[in-house]
């Protein structure tokens, strides 16, 4: 469904994404993990049309996405959320979600009805009339997801929707993500919360210094020495192995 090949993006002398390749097949939940500053969000911005790559290619459902604006990709079914949530602050939750629903639905009334339905199905029924700017952070994260789901995407890019949430809130959002997959939406997500990566994803890619250094089943990836060293520093894999109970 999504094929990323040799994607590279430089900011001045810094290579933020360096020849990254990855694949996502329909129906999967794929995680993209990596230490801070690895280039995960930049990679998302490149895939979703917010940034242009210096080299490499991205194909969504067999067609290149290069040069397409974000709204054109949204129309093709590729929609992203933002790590730093971006609600429409003075609008109600319902109106926020309806903006997403308008992607496919022109009449206002139907878009608002769809917003109600999406909001309810994702457990936000009680919040529909609240001003988005007044919501606590966990609810804003959920709104960010609901708004994207309302566009009827085929591939959803979730950028750290669990970051900053407490364990109880994480337990609220994880079923949301599974419900979205059940609805037939493929998911590529950036995530730091390893417990969620293990529980949710079919496969995981690890990005470090802009390059993919590992991929595979989440468990195998987490035990990969290259991954451990990327997070904890050189030599740490061997030291952890020497002291298995540490």
């Amino acid at each position: 469904m999504l094929e990323v090949r040799g994607l590279t993006r430089r900011f001045g002398g810094l290579v933020a994404v360096n020849g990254a390749s990855l694949d996502v097949s329909a129906g999967e939940i794929v995680s993209l993990i990596g230490p801070n500053g690895a280039g995960k969000t930049t990679l998302f911005a490149l895939i979703s049309g917010f940034l242009r790559p210096d080299a490499g290619s991205v194909a969504f459902e067999g067609r290149s996405t290069l040069g397409a604006r974000p709204h054109e990709l949204a129309a093709r079914g590729l929609v992203r959320t933002f790590q730093i949530v971006q609600p429409f602050p003075t609008l109600s939750v319902r109106e926020n979600i309806a903006t997403g629903a308008h992607r496919a639905i022109a009449p206002r009334r139907e878009a608002l009805e769809k917003a109600d339905a999406v909001g309810r199905s994702l457990g936000m029924g009680a919040l529909l009339d609240r001003r988005a700017g007044d919501l606590p952070i966990a609810a804003r994260k959920r709104l960010e997801i609901a708004r994207a789901v309302a566009t009827d995407p085929r591939l959803l890019l979730l950028d750290e929707v669990l970051a900053g949430l407490n364990p109880a809130e994480i337990d609220e959002v994880t079923p949301m993500i599974l419900a979205i997959r059940e609805a037939g939406i493929t998911i590529l997500m950036i995530e730091h919360v390893m417990q969620a990566v293990m529980r949710l994803s079919d496969r995981a890619y690890v990005l470090n210094s802009g390059a993919i250094i590992a991929n595979g089943a989440p468990r195998a990836v987490a035990e990969d020495p290259a991954v451990i060293e990327a997070y904890l520093g050189p030599g740490m894999a061997a030291r952890l192995k020497a002291r298995p109970h540490a």
Partner: protein
Amino acid sequence: MSGDGWRIAGWALALAAAVAAPFVIASGRWLDFIELTLFVAVLAQAWNILGGYGGQYSFGHAMFFGVGAYVQALLQFRLGVSPWAAMPLAIGAGAAVGAVVGYLSFRYGLRGSYFALITLAFAEALRVLARSLVSVTEGGRGVSLALNQDPDAVWSTLQFTFAEPFLRHAGSYYFILIVLVVAYGLVWRMERRRFGAQLIAVRENEDAAEALGVNAFRVKMKAICLSGMIAAAAGVYYVQKYLFVDPEIAFGPSKSVEALVAPIIGGLGTLAGPLLGAFFLHGAGEAAKALVGAVAEPRPGLDLILYGLILVLVLGFAPRGIAGLWAALMAPLRRRAG
């Protein structure tokens, strides 16, 4: 009654009062005051579409007004075109100027103060152009339309000066009222459609709107063209009423300032805001003129100083304008009622 029901009732009442006003108000001076206020309310609503709903603050809305006025005046003056035939062309010219300025600004991602400066520059450029293209525009002397003195040609010339008494009293008043009803009707409709929702989404957060499939460029282009059309229609009215336009009137800063101060004071991004703001400003302006006139010689520019003062106070104490203040006052009542 639902929220919309109350609003419709309120607007219907206001419209009935506006239609009845010329029958009730015999004084030409008072009717003129209301007429001028409605004219500002039209300009203000034009600005509000782009600035209030779309978040793109223009400092040069006079350019749309001025282009509408000049096209309406010059087509009659140079080519002898009927005012009725000139009207759609003048309004279309407003949309065309909107398209040009919008394309140049939005295609290159100019937002905020950059957009404000671009619009200011365009209005100034048009003012200089109108002043220097003497062979077309008559330069700084301005364009004067011939006054029609034939009572039978009132409708064909769209001039009411020599019409029968009631039409003389109220003809141009109804003209601007019709323009206002059409303009406000368009905005009412816009608020209830996808275009309006997407325009507001772009104002609130352009990147997020793009990510959700909103073509921000197209939405802003539509808004600036609609805004330009309505401001140009106000220019058409102005020319038919005063039969005169010059570069200062058309493109000078005073129209641009009025167009933006009224909606900010009345309530940005609300249907009623521009109208409330126009009445408030003009009421205050007239009152100040009367007060000062009573004790000293009239001072031109006094109303502008007053506008500035009111603007500072409103921004300081009621940032959502009169409409926002009203909503805040009504909220506890409504809660009690509900």
